[in-house]
Every structure is written in structure tokens, then in C-alpha cells.
């Protein structure tokens, strides 16, 4: 009882020595007010160090990107001087936009862009659609063999991509699909990951609406289409974002199955570009900036889905 009273008395006293003296009279030794002040100083120090750390970290993260942009805007010769005053190099000092035009011209960059967009859209749509349907069956319907089947899905999620890579390549070769978009799109659509993630989300939805719809004679597809999907927009958006970005960035598989230059997606196209212009740093960096920009755009608009997605799949993992 005494403690809150003392602190309320102390808070009314002027914040100087008299406060200390008054409080000390009551308790003798370290007082509530002093503890409070010490704690406030501690919190201030902690926040101060936290800010220093965070700002330092942020600069480390952003620095290379700034350097990328400033290099992409230099005259080609400017790069090759040993930069004694490197701290001046983060912000662009010249603006040679020609590099971007040049990069766009020396390889069919527009074509790479279109290929990447086409493949990413097909894979994303296919994966979200088929995963959502399968996840609905696993989460909301009862059928014999469901748990065993789902366990099978889970188990194959642990199989490294390297294991299936070789047989799938051979299969595609038999089908004559090497160096086609089928080879990029079809194997990427059917993943256990998407099914797993959406199932976890569907399980959290309340069943009242579903029951009501069933009583009204709604079909299973009706329930899926009119109730489950509209309620799951955040999870669907998360999967859409992840799949799109993953496909956009995927390098190894397109590298394996594509041969013809004009079919290349952006990452493979960029690597091809590097093999042609190994030391044209201004052009390489201009091309890199152009590859990253769409990703940044997607991220700015969908940031919260990233965090949600990581929590959804990471913690329940």
C-alpha cells in the first residue's frame, strides 16, 4: 500500500533533490522515485543504442544498393579509377542514363522481361489455384486416406529440389519440352508448400458460415468459391506474392532447361549478359537495377503479406 502512495507523492513534488529527500525520508535507501528515474535513464540508453545499431545496420544494408545505382549512372571510364574517396561514391555524381538504354539494346532485355512476366504469372496462377483446391480438401473435407495423403505431402516437402531435378529433366526431354516454357511452368506449379500453407490457414477459419451454407444446399464448390476463398484473401495474397517473387528470381532451373537466348528469363538473361560483357560494369549495374525495380514495387505494395507469410509458415512450420 505504501509504495504506490509514495510514488504518487513523489510525482507531485518538483523533480529535483527535494523529491529524493522527501522519498528517502519515508523509506531510507533507494526509493521508488529514484528507481523510476534510474529505469528511465536505462530505457533512454537502451533506446539510444538500439537506434545506433539499427541505423548502422540500415546503412550497411542500403549501401551496396546505393553503390549499384551510382555505378550504373557513371561514365564507363569512371569506374576504373581506384576510388580513394570511396565515401563520395554512394550518391551518383554523374547521370549517364545512356547506360540504361545501352543495356536494353545489347541483349534483348525487353524480351527477357516479357518472358519473366509470362512465366511468373502462369506459375503463380497455377500454383495458387491448384494449391487452394487441394488445401480446401485437406482442411475442410473428410475422406478416407486424407491424413496419410497429407503426411505424404509433408514428407515430400523435405525432399531437396536436387533430388527431383534430374528425373524431371529427363522426363521433359522425353516429352520434347526442353527449351520450352512448359519446362519452366509445369513442374513449378505443383508444390506441397503452397498446399501446406493454405491448409494451415483454412484450418483457422470458423465453420459456422460453412455449416449454414451446407444447410442451404450449397455445393462443395460453392462453399469453396463463395466462403473459403473470400475469407482467405490475406493467405492467398501471401502465397501469390511469394510464388511470384520466387519464380521471378529463380535462376538454376531456367538455366538448366533453356538454350535459346530469346527464351531466357531475366536472371538467366542477366547471367548471359555478364558472360558477354564481363567488365562493362556500368551496363551490368544498369541491368541489375532494372531487374530489381519490379521486385521493389511488389514489395512496397505487399509488405505486410511478407511478414504474415513468414509467421504463418515459419512458426507453425
Amino acid at each position: 500500500m505504501g509504495k504506490p502512495m509514495a510514488s504518487s507523492v513523489a510525482s507531485r513534488l518538483p523533480p529535483d533533490g527535494s523529491e529524493k529527500a522527501a522519498a528517502q525520508d519515508v523509506f531510507g535507501g533507494p526509493t521508488a522515485a529514484r528507481l523510476k528515474r534510474r529505469k528511465r535513464r536505462q530505457v533512454f540508453l537502451r533506446k539510444f543504442f538500439a537506434y545506433v545499431l539499427l541505423i548502422g545496420g540500415a546503412l550497411t544494408m542500403v549501401g551496396p544498393f546505393l553503390w549499384m545505382v551510382s555505378t550504373s549512372l557513371k561514365e564507363p571510364g569512371q569506374v576504373f579509377s581506384f576510388q580513394k574517396e570511396w565515401w563520395k561514391e554512394w550518391l551518383p555524381t554523374s547521370f549517364v542514363w545512356r547506360n540504361y538504354v545501352q543495356a536494353w539494346k545489347v541483349v534483348p532485355f525487353a524480351r527477357f522481361y516479357l518472358n519473366s512476366i509470362f512465366v511468373a504469372i502462369c506459375v503463380t496462377f497455377g500454383q495458387v489455384a491448384t494449391s487452394a483446391m487441394a488445401a480446401y480438401a485437406f482442411a475442410r473435407l473428410r475422406f478416407p486416406g486424407r491424413d496419410k495423403l497429407f503426411f505424404g505431402y509433408l514428407a515430400t516437402m523435405m525432399v531437396p529440389g536436387a533430388v527431383t531435378m534430374i528425373p524431371v529433366f529427363i522426363l521433359l526431354r522425353y516429352l520434347g519440352w526442353i527449351d520450352t516454357y512448359y519446362a519452366l511452368i509445369l513442374p513449378a506449379i505443383f508444390t506441397a508448400y503452397g498446399t501446406f500453407m493454405l491448409r494451415q490457414f483454412f484450418l483457422t477459419l470458423p465453420s459456422d458460415l460453412e455449416d449454414a451454407a451446407k444447410i442451404d444446399g450449397c455445393s462443395y464448390f460453392g462453399i469453396f468459391w463463395r466462403i473459403i476463398l473470400p475469407l482467405s484473401k490475406p493467405a492467398l495474397a501471401t502465397l501469390t506474392t511469394f510464388t511470384f517473387m520466387g519464380t521471378w528470381m529463380n535462376f538454376m532451373w531456367p538455366l538448366i532447361v533453356l538454350n535459346t537466348h530469346h527464351k531466357f528469363t531475366l536472371p538467366v538473361g542477366l547471367a548471359y549478359f555478364q558472360s558477354l560483357h564481363h567488365t562493362d560494369w556500368t551496363l551490368l549495374m544498369a541491368a541489375s537495377v532494372m531487374m530489381i525495380l519490379p521486385i521493389l514495387a511488389v514489395f512496397v505494395f505487399n509488405q505486410r503479406f511478407f511478414v504474415e507469410g513468414i509467421k504463418l509458415t515459419g512458426i507453425k512450420g
Binding site: 538500439a50 549499384m68 489455384a129 491448384t130 486424407r146 525432399v159 517473387m245 542477366l270
Partner: protein, 303 residues
Amino acid sequence: MKTEKAMSSSTKETIAAYGFLMPNLVGFLIFTSIPVIASLGLSFVKWDLLSPAKFVGFKNFVDLFKDPFFWKYCWNTIYLMLAIPLSMGGSLILALALNQKLKGIVLFRAVFFLPTLCSGVAIYMLWRLIYNPEFGVLNSIIASFGQLIGITLNGPYWLTDETWSKPALVIMSVWQTVGGYNMILYLAALQGVPRDLYDAAEVDGANSWQKFWAVTWPQISPTTFFIAIMSVIGGFQAGFDPAYIMTGGGPNGSTTTLIYYLYNNAFQWHHMGYAAAIAWVLFLVVLFFTIVQWRFFGKTVHY
């Protein structure tokens, strides 16, 4: 009559369920389940895609274990996983700082996520430039740091020096992952630690350091364990993209990882059976860590 009706409705449900499952299940069987089995079969044959496949029993595996390159690349793969503890420590520190109820958390989180977000060919090309011994920014920084303390410091040749190529990839990997998924998982874990545990520790007179080790650390240990295992599982399969872009697996094979070796065997030299054997060794290693995770993750790791 009632049971009959129930049966027919459950049959209907089963049919509907398999209807929903069908597209995914068929694709999954063709592109995942059957290939897993096929790759096991492949690991017992010698096949260059041109001449007919020949059954060789366990020869691929025996050859693999006698292959000095395989062991070298195993070592490379494990060495590069040095990035995991470094990155996790950094992630935890950043998450602790972010957890101080500061302004601008969303912005910081977004900025820290940038390298993970943009990971890919563009970033690897950027780091190839950063590591350039003559006009890369890293050696410029090292040189001017040397000037500051009055000695001549010359940075190493990073990607073209066998001793420095692996550390270079580790540094880049830490930069890339420190503010990514792991930090977000840690932040979520920190926010889930019950407030009253800290209050109790304060009553006992614990300072910040003691509070961290007595409360925070044990409370977030499941997350630490989860991240560590997942990173190790990922680590065994990692290393292709950066090495392909930045070093081509060199110098002298010092940045070739297992997955890179698999790629070379399968898609450069067409040793399909041998590559499948590498894939299966990789699979068994990953499986081991997955089982470890399943075993322990179910239990509460904290006390």
C-alpha cells in the same frame, strides 16, 4: 435409413474431395513423387543420356565416397555454413533492437529485408563488383582505414584468391540473410515472451544482461532451434547461384558446393547416375536433420 443417407453423403464428400485434390495430386505425382523414386533408381545406373543406361549397383556411391572432389566440395559446403551462426546472431541482435518499441520499426524492417528480397543474380553481380580487388568499394574502405591508422593496407583478392573466396561468400551471405526471415521470426518470438517473466526477474533484481540469459534466451530457444535446423537443411542445398555468377565455382574449386557439383555432373558432363547418387546422399543428410527437428520441435525446448 439414416445410416444409408449418411453413407451416401460421405461418399459424395469423398468424391468432391478427390475432385478438388486431383489437379494438384496428379501434378505432384508426376513432378515430385515419381521423380523421387526415379532418382533412386537412377543412382544405380550409369547413363550419359545417349547410350542406353547400364545397371552398376552401388558403384556410383562407392565411386562417390572415393572421389576426393566430393569430399572437398562437402567441406566447402560446410565451411559456407559458417554464415548461419553469424547471421543468426546478427538477426537476434537486430530483433532485440527492433523490439525496444522505437519509432520507424516498419521502415527498418523493410530496409533490413531488402537484401533477402532482392537476392539473386543482380545482387551477386553487385557483390562481384564490391569484391573487385582494384576498384571494388570493399578494398577501398580497407585501404582508407589503413591510411587512418597510418599503415598501408591492401585488401585481399577476394574472389580470385583461394583463401579468401569462401570468406567472401560467407560475408555476402551474412549481409544477405541477417535482416531477412530469421530476424522476423526472432522478432515474433520476442514479442511472444510473457511480460510478467521480466517483471518477476526485475523484482529479483536482475539486470538487462541477466534478464536476457535467464528469460529471453530460454523463451526463444524453440525459435533458435527451428531457424538453426532449417538453415542447415537449406545450407546443404545452397551455393549454386552465387558461385555460378561470382566465381564459376573457382578458384581451384574453392567455392564449388555439393549442388554445384551435382549440376556439373548432370547437366555439363551428363553423368546422370553419378549426379543422382550425389542427390541421394544430399537427401539422406537433409533427412537426418529433418528427423532431428521433428523429434525435438514437438517438445517445448524452453524450461
